[in-house]
Symmetry: C2
Subunit: 355 residues, 2 copies
């Protein structure tokens, strides 16, 4: 029923092959008399011809589609907007390069690849894959190009990461610069590739200031508010002279849990204990006090990955290495750096900071 290229060719009085090259703009080549080309284009337009991408894919072996693999099915509705931002960046970049996007997210939960996994796509973006992600092997076999977003660089495919080490350094350094000497480190987990470098950055900052790290001040186990709350409680139970005067949390949720624990203990943020988070999510503007946080451009993580992937698909990017995106620090009220301007800040309408 739908109009095919044959109909177009027939209407234009040419062969199918001619119609094909006309419609695919092989104009540069020697082929095609301008007259016939126009006839074909006109016919196509008149008939409302829309090429069938499936047929095209079968013939060319290219799908013009990228696959996005998020780590778990709830990635969209997660409290942590990380995945949605990556997705956003991926999508924007894919569109820009005229690629469609296929979602393969639920794979992780279902433990078996969806029908025709990876065959719909010319390449795959894996978000937060663990080092032993079976998909990597799967793709290598089938020669499906892959790029990983936030992953251990040893994973075997090109990776795009944020500069976690620098982020860890930045957050800690900021607190050191504010005069803190006992700084707690909250959160992280072995399985998550970001934990290690962030901690390394923390340690390096301490070392730079000639401070010996205190294991009692470092709690790692989780990433959410509950964990931040529990971990902070422990730090608060330390004898006063050992107690941290500041904490650096590996993400904003965790930091907020910590702030809550601090308030519950009758202490103030940042006066009694300063807090710095990580991720600089929108959330930071809504916490009490607003949360100073290390910022990475999550959207760019996604878009950069797409650009690398597309280059790979076109055989232009052979290097297998890691691309590291820069981080920065967004200063708000939880660290005490703005203590002086706090009042002015308070009077400013929170709406100003709402997108």
């Amino acid at each position: 029923m739908p109009v095919t290229i044959r109909d177009v060719a027939q209407k234009a009085g040419t062969s199918v092959a001619t119609a094909s090259s006309a419609l695919n703009g092989r104009r540069g080549s020697i082929r095609m008399a301008e007259a016939t080309r126009q006839r074909i284009v006109a016919a196509a337009k008149e008939l409302g011809y829309v090429p069938n991408p499936i047929a095209k894919s079968l013939a060319t072996g290219k799908t013009r589609t990228l696959g996005l693999v998020l780590p778990y099915a709830d990635a969209f509705i997660d409290q942590n907007p990380f995945c949605t931002h990556v997705m956003h960046g991926v999508f924007q970049a894919a569109i820009a390069d005229k690629y469609n996007l296929m979602l393969y997210t639920a794979w992780a939960d279902h433990h078996e690849p969806p029908i025709g996994f990876g065959q719909h796509a010319d390449g795959l973006i894996l978000v937060l894959p663990p080092l032993d992600e079976p998909l990597i092997a799967h793709c290598r076999e089938r020669e499906v190009p892959c790029v990983a977003v936030v992953a251990d660089p040893r994973i075997g495919v090109p990776t795009v990461n944020s500069d976690d080490r620098e982020g860890g350094y930045l957050g800690t350094k900021h607190l050191l610069d504010l005069g803190h000497r006992r700084i707690g480190l909250l959160g992280g987990a072995r399985e998550v590739s970001t934990s290690e470098p962030r901690r390394a950055g923390y340690l390096r900052a301490l070392a730079d200031s000639g401070i010996a790290p205190d294991p009692r001040l470092m709690a790692s186990a989780g990433f959410d508010a509950r964990f931040g709350h529990a971990a902070m409680l422990e730090l608060l139970s330390l004898p006063l002279r050992l107690r941290p005067t500041a904490v650096f949390a590996v993400n904003d949720l965790c930091a907020n849990g910590a702030m809550l624990a601090i308030r519950e203990a009758g202490l103030r943020v940042p006066e009694d204990i300063a807090v710095v988070g990580y991720d600089d999510t929108e959330f930071c503007d809504t916490t009490r006090p607003t949360l100073t946080s290390v910022r990475m451009s999550v959207d760019e993580l996604g878009s950069t990955a797409v650009r690398r992937l597309v280059r790979r698909i076109n055989g232009q990017d052979e290097q297998d290495g890691e691309v590291v995106l820069p981080v920065s620090l967004t200063i708000r009220n939880s660290c005490g750096a703005r203590a002086a301007s706090l009042d002015r800040e308070r009077r400013r309408s929170p709406l100003e900071s709402t997108r």
Copy 2:
């Protein structure tokens, strides 16, 4: 290079056709001697055969893929989690029915359908399409089955909506039950199909209580916090005897803007002015005070749409009508209903309400 069905057939010593039916489990039919079937399956397994979905699609005319069209490219990273939740519901249901998901979101921003739009998919889910959405016509021509999520039922394709009228009624009724007589209505916009029914519900609730609506108490123009703030400011500028003692906002963002304006005016929520929002987003637990809000199951909007769409694709659901999902009211602290238990509430850790 990849192994095809021909390789399998050859290895099993059968024809391609036989291999095909064996692998597609036409076991029920008369076809297939169990022996050959097993031989084929074994061969396939041994060779690591993976059927090519593109070729299959071309042959069958089915893609086993659903397309999701969100209304704007920033839909994922919106402050309002509506779209992400719809997407989540859509995805879950699609997976359950063994459909893949293709994202067509950016279409709205780019003003031209992406390559092969709708041809990759057996059907489309349109989220928040305006009544004149050109895609609808586009799909009708190409006979692509569509279902719309949150749309005017007159749009011409099956729709799945939340019961906005009931939601408007519920929120207003709650305030009336708490003794309020002057209740403001905040937010909404002509173009958005939900505004009208919510307002209708509001009016009906007033009518039920024998209260004449006061146009001065109804402000409609936008959906965000800025608007809520500005609109509330206007209501606050009314002479005291005309001023509302409660307001009902058409979404949570708007409600929060209003709460802010109230606080800025030196008044308290809910003691001086009670506030009820709409959507019951996670956000409601983080506002001050926590926000009473009308709840709809956004995920279900998505999953219901998928189920309708799949039925359509299979030609089982001819009805073109509207499906309406129920709403409820989540009572928190902004409405005053829990005033008595407020203290207990305060002492409870906010973490409890964090997912």
